[in-house]
């Protein structure tokens, strides 16, 4: 591994998208051909409130460089209040992660509606750019897995 040529850094980014708004927004970005880097991989969840902080910790532990959670706009949640729960939980989690050394720029919550293909694409482009500028996440990775 150590003798491998140094290639351009490609971050690993996990995006949790709620089924009703953001996942549909991502679909719209796709059907409108609004590109964003392939580094983003989307996991579909019913609602942003389904995202357990454990999932995010797990992602960082397994080598993710950034995690973004997308949900419906405040007031538009399919389940009325799920995105409010998500927002509160993530605010706490992100400040804790920051304390642990995982910079705020590696985590983000964004509201993207089903009609906002453009916003989805620009958000992902911005986020990837930000995470790329921060470089590889080494803080929470399992050090035993490294050579």
């Amino acid at each position: 591994m150590s003798i491998e040529a140094k290639t351009e850094f490609k971050p690993k980014i996990v995006a949790f998208c709620c089924n009703w708004c953001s996942y549909a927004g991502a679909d719209l970005a796709g059907s409108s051909r609004l590109g964003y880097p392939a580094d983003v991989k989307i996991i579909r969840v019913p609602c942003s409130c389904r995202v357990n902080p454990m999932f995010i910790l797990r992602a960082f532990e397994k080598g993710a460089d950034g995690v973004i959670i997308c949900g419906c706009h405040p007031g538009d949640c399919h389940y009325s209040t799920g995105n409010y729960y998500a927002r509160r939980r993530m605010t706490l989690l992100f400040s804790m992660l920051d304390y642990l050394g995982i910079e705020q720029g590696r985590t983000r919550v964004e509201w993207v509606s089903a009609a906002e293909g453009v916003k989805f694409s620009t958000t992902m482009n911005e986020f990837v750019e930000k995470v790329t500028s921060l470089g590889e996440n080494i803080r929470l990775g399992d050090l035993r897995c490294r050579s």
Binding site: W20, G35, P46, C47, A64, Y79, R89, S113
Partner: protein, 665 residues
């Protein structure tokens, strides 16, 4: 994991949609190496009958227990593939979709990158299916009644169609009468029918229909429940007039001394009394008291209306009333308004009475309007000789003062106005400043051409920069003719602004109550822009009319009918299958703390004392129990649960973590 899965992976080319930027063969090859995968193949169109047959065949031959389809978004074809595998004998919830089209092939141009990502997405889906378990949907009942929010032409048509199919339907309208914007129009394009003449019979039909109840001067206050079983609170605002006693004679309005209140129906161009019916054909023909402007309510003295009412219908003590009703389906038909022109003062709308919106012109042209149908300047009552129409005022405007969309109806109604004016007043010169004339629609372009060719309306390609009121009361219009490349300065006596339309102000509140999606322009979002244009993504909520996007009357009526059919299709069912992806408790981990109960938006979680067998120890514990008919599967409880006892079927902790692992591997 109950047993080791035997997974089949099916990679779709989607013609060239996927195959052009993703090496589908390689995806299938790589999938074959994943844990549990015993079969992988690719095909041109997995959703086709032949594609589905391939899945069925593989299930039979290889005894598959789980399926991964790498294709388009699950929002497109998840149901298709679930049904296909069910027919082939395995549980439909053993299917997972890897979205390698919308989330991959369509957005990545580099084939190597696209292929790599598609493989990872496939791996994530495979990892998830390894942990899938068969699920069985429950059943819920359907209340055989529909609610229509909004009593304009969209709401009336939807209600009539639902009622004709034999179902009960309620219309909730916030103003004192049904009729909506169409009742304010004078004539309609492209046939020049009188608007009231074609609308009034529909209004009467709706009010007389045995299956239709109309709540006017009422608003939806609260909505709970879900498809098939909504519970809605409707606020009937105090009308101050007893609807049963009132005979609609109109003496109260006539005698009311508070006469100088801007008439909403006439767009503020005329006055009405404090007790009023908005217009002559109003339904119901029962007045309301506008309490803010009523002398009795302001000072305690007056009471004229009560004294002159022979029927004794005036009731100053009347209170708002809340009606709670159950519905199986809800149709939003909340309509539109014109935008405020505060930020468009270059057209002098706020500085001159002779600069009006097109909707105001409708009232001016209408026999029941403020000028009794005579075309005259509102400043001095003089007949205009030069009228200038300005198109796209606030439409197609991406700055923060306007709307980015085309309002769609303006080109046609301006042609109508121009034609009607030239027809009735041949001496009046009519000039239209336009950016583009957009007339797609049956007989629409012919209509516009008639305005030009037969009626001599002068269409000028270009915009107006400024309308300047002159000391003599005329209006100096400065515009450009882009074809002549000349700046034009022309004097006009009247300027009409084709003002952009926007969804009615209260729609955001209603969308929130319905948990229906809404876009940045406040239009309600449809479930699919092409294939499900009248359904909201929220099950049981349908869209009718301009609340979904700009439309003219024929389109609105067509969509209203389509929304009705969707509602009828729902009401015709006796039972609905519920989403089986509900929360479930691990009774050995639950400590009965009530945290989940507190976050559940549906009240689906209760507690019961249950005997559990904890590694040989039998004891009765307080344990969370989920009502599957009520649980909608959001998952809020799963994260809240401190002991990790709550999980969500179909989106379990282990499944999501498996996906995370597969992506980060």
């Amino acid at each position: 994991m109950s047993r080791v899965q035997r997974i089949g992976v099916f990679v779709c080319h989607c013609g060239s949609n996927i195959a052009a930027t993703v090496d589908v063969t390689k995806v299938a090859e790589m999938a074959r190496l994943e844990q549990g995968v015993v079969h992988a193949e690719e095909y041109q169109y997995m959703c086709s009958e032949a594609g589905q047959a391939k899945i069925a065949e593989a299930i039979k031959e290889k005894d598959l227990t789980g399926i991964v389809v790498c294709s388009c978004s699950p929002r497109m074809h998840e149901t298709t593939f679930r049904n296909a595998v069910e027919r082939a004998g395995i549980n439909p919830y053993m299917v997972e979709i890897a979205n390698i089209r919308e989330h991959c092939s369509w957005i990545h141009k580099n084939k190597a990158e696209g292929t790599e990502k598609a493989i990872i997405l496939a791996k994530a889906a495979i990892a998830k299916v390894n942990l899938n378990a068969p699920l069985k949907p429950g059943e819920s009942r359907v209340t055989k009644r529909a609610l229509v929010i909004g009593g304009g032409i969209a709401g009336i048509q939807t209600a009539l169609d639902i009622a004709e199919a034999g179902y009960k339907v309620d219309i909730v309208e916030k103003t004192p009468s049904i009729g909506g914007r169409m009742s304010q129009l004078d004539k309609t394009f492209p046939t020049l029918d009188c608007s009231a003449c074609i609308l009034t019979p529909k209004m009467v039909e709706a009010s007389a229909h045995e299956n239709i109840r109309i709540f006017t001067y009422s608003e939806v206050e609260q909505v709970s429940g879900f498809v098939g079983d909504f519970t809605v609170d409707i606020r009937k605002k105090a009308r101050s007039v007893d609807m049963d006693k009132c005979t609609g004679c109109g003496v109260c309005s006539e005698k009311c001394p508070a006469k100088k209140n801007a008439s909403e129906f006439n767009r503020g161009l005329g006055n009405r009394s404090a007790i009023y019916t908005p217009f002559a054909q109003a339904i119901p023909n029962v007045p309301v008291i506008d309490r803010e402007n009523c002398i009795k309510f302001k000072t305690g003295k007056c009471g004229v209306c009560s004294k002159v009412c022979q029927a004794g219908a005036v009731d100053y003590e009347q209170q708002d009333e809340i009606i709670t009703e159950k519905y199986g389906a809800i149709v939003a038909a909340t309509g539109f308004d014109t935008i405020k022109l505060d930020d468009f003062d270059e057209y002098a709308y706020s500085q001159s009475k002779d600069v009006i919106t097109s909707l105001e012109l409708e009232r001016v042209m209408n026999a029941a309007g403020p000028t009794a149908g005579h075309l005259e300047r509102l400043s001095d009552g003089k007949a205009p000789r030069n009228i200038v129409f300005i198109q796209c005022v606030g439409s197609r405007d991406c700055t923060n003062r306007g709307k980015p969309y085309c309002s769609k109806i303006c080109c046609m109604y301006t042609a109508k106005h121009a034609m009607l004016i030239r027809d009735k007043y041949p001496d009046v010169k009519v000039t239209v400043f336009y950016i583009d004339v957009r007339t797609p629609g049956k007989n629409f372009d012919e209509f516009y051409r008639r305005a030009v060719e037969d009626y001599g309306v002068n269409y000028v390609k270009g915009q107006v920069g400024k309308v300047a009121p002159q000391p003599d009361g005329s209006l100096m219009v400065q515009g450009v003719d882009m074809l002549d490349n000349k700046q034009i300065r022309m004097e006009a006596d009247m300027v009409v602004l084709a003002t952009a339309i926007e969804p009615e102000a209260g729609v955001r509140k209603i969308a929130t109550m319905l948990t229906a999606s809404i876009d940045n322009n406040n239009f309600l979002t449809e479930a699919h822009p092409k294939l499900r244009p009248v359904e909201s993504p929220t099950a049981g909520v349908f869209l009718s009319g301009v609340c979904q996007g700009p439309k003219d009357i024929p389109e609105t009526v067509a969509q209203a009918g389509a929304a009705a059919v969707k509602a009828i299709g729902l009401l015709a069912k006796n039972k609905l299958l519920t989403n089986p992806c509900t929360a479930t408790t691990d009774e050995l981990l639950c400590n009965g703390c009530s945290a989940c109960e507190n976050v559940c938006p549906y009240g689906a979680i209760t507690y019961e004392d249950r005997e559990v067998n904890d590694h040989g120890i039998r004891e009765v514990r307080r344990i969370a129990a989920v009502n599957n008919a009520l649980c909608q599967g959001c998952g809020a409880c799963t994260v809240t649960c401190p002991s990790g006892a709550m999980d969500l079927q179909g989106f379990s902790n282990r499944q999501i973590i498996a996906e995370v692992d597969a992506i980060c591997r």
